[in-house]
Symmetry: C2
Subunit: 345 residues, 2 copies
Amino acid sequence: MPKRQRRRSTIYDIATQAETSASTVSLVLNGSWRRYRINPDTAERILEVSRSLGYNINLRARGLRLKQSRLAGMVIPHYRNRFFAGLAETFEHEVRRRGLCPVVVSTQRDPVTERTVIETLVAQQVELLIITGVDDPDELNAICLNAGVPCVNLDLPGRSAPSVVSDNRGGSYKLTALLIEAVRERGGDPSTIRFVGGRPNEYATEERARGFAQALEDAGIAVQDEWIIRCGYQPIAARTVMQTLAQARAGFPSGVFINSITSLEGFAEFMRSKWEICQSTVLSCFDWDPFAASLPLPTIMMRQNVEELIEQSFAILDGTVPHSPEPVVVPPTLEVIRTKSNIAA
Amino acid sequence: MPKRQRRRSTIYDIATQAETSASTVSLVLNGSWRRYRINPDTAERILEVSRSLGYNINLRARGLRLKQSRLAGMVIPHYRNRFFAGLAETFEHEVRRRGLCPVVVSTQRDPVTERTVIETLVAQQVELLIITGVDDPDELNAICLNAGVPCVNLDLPGRSAPSVVSDNRGGSYKLTALLIEAVRERGGDPSTIRFVGGRPNEYATEERARGFAQALEDAGIAVQDEWIIRCGYQPIAARTVMQTLAQARAGFPSGVFINSITSLEGFAEFMRSKWEICQSTVLSCFDWDPFAASLPLPTIMMRQNVEELIEQSFAILDGTVPHSPEPVVVPPTLEVIRTKSNIAA
DNA sequence: CTGAAAGCGCTTACAG
DNA sequence: CTGAAAGCGCTTACAG
């Protein structure tokens, strides 16, 4: 690749060639020339030269002058599941619809990266920012606030910034209730059901754990702390958990509540190696993936409403929705997979 | 959300408060103050004020002055599969390692979006651009070239720009050869094998089709055009194809070469509804997904070497590799899933 | 050791 | 109808 070569043409180049001034070129190029009653011949000449030069505006210069960047930022942990991929794509779509340029950056759940990414985006003058899947949003929100960049936390509670969340607790309750029902239908013991995945003290994980516990309590089962296994987001961690459960004297769970698609990945790996142990287990997963439907076990998935989450975030950013310390709650959608068994009504 | 509020602080604000000049502030803030023998007391004072103001540099202004943006762009169709998600994440990692800010934008395979996205990125002055999964790269490359933005096409052949590609043909050949072998082992008829997915005239699709045909020919089977079904990338299209094949008098294929993970999604849907038809079929998929390993059919996947593809792209962008009209070819990796059958040595 | 000045590529109020 | 001028927030060669 040739290192950067010929100077890019500017409005001055156009002005010279079209024998007019940079001011006029600017007016013509950004379309306000009608308002300024520029001579159509002049305009035509300018457009002609601009085309022949392959002129491409320097948006950074424009932005500096206008104090606007036309950039909209979003921070996500990664793109490797349908939830975050969907968020990124929906965000991009919405941002483009508004004539802005989307800048989505992933952080791999690393707090240091999270901070530098936010600082960079703010330094790049993004006009708004949606933050999701970070460790601690408060400090990050403070950076935005201080720079006057409107931001919202997605699926994260907000102390200093507004937030939009999925109904993690309610969704989890439903998911667990259906799981209990399915386990009972198959003659299993609901008190062997376990919750696997997520991080301790992480908002979404804790909310889901609460919904899980509540559903069991309401079914007359006294939940013990050890039933909720927050082993993180690595597939291998979930796999190890399943291995341990298989060896426990309580016996393998009749139902497993999987807290994320990565944990389901770990479960699937375990299942492939120990099919005989898993074959009468029922799964609930608080996440959605088309291939999870192909697991040979009955699976109930909760699909987060990505479109609505983004829409609500923009409603807040637009100021359409009054600012409130309470998060806007978006209900997720149930997807029941009737593999080898009809587990829900 | 409060609309953008208090003016962001600038080096002038710092200069005023620290009773010095903007020049000195700039020198101190960007670390070149030692070289300029700035009084450490002055420097300390400036740093102090800067911190108290929560100063955040305006990178766009800096970039305008320095004629550099510190932005690196990548264009991909979407994030919904592991290949593109992996490319995006690896790209981001590499870009950050170089102290640049990654800007990955998805186009949903829409040619109009592709063009406007590239134009926007160029107008935002990205310092380099990696393009993948677009309809026609030539025109897009021309935009970059004209603006002096180094670009490379990833998994796309380049007329006017260099490119890095997976060994689609070779990978496909191997994938097909293994498929034939597995079909024969199970007593199936390899001449019923079909190729499903991808787009006519699309580079990767055509290369893979060639590898597919060659492997069959080499196995002594005369390939007919209709065996290669380029039905696009929608899951539903692949599903419909499977439905049609199930009704054809030739009988359901003993092996299916699936050209993309989205087509595999369509196949899985069909399989769930017509398990009895599919149960003795073997799958080859030119794509990789962890859950595809959980399908109840023997599956061979070709996993593209995402890290190497990105690394080679940067080698070209860095000028480490001499410019050549021939694409740099990266071999993909075989992943054999031994579900219910041991299909490869 | 430090500051004034020019300039990056634009936009737009203003004067003609 | 059109151009000169100022200014967005930085950097840095230059002069002191």
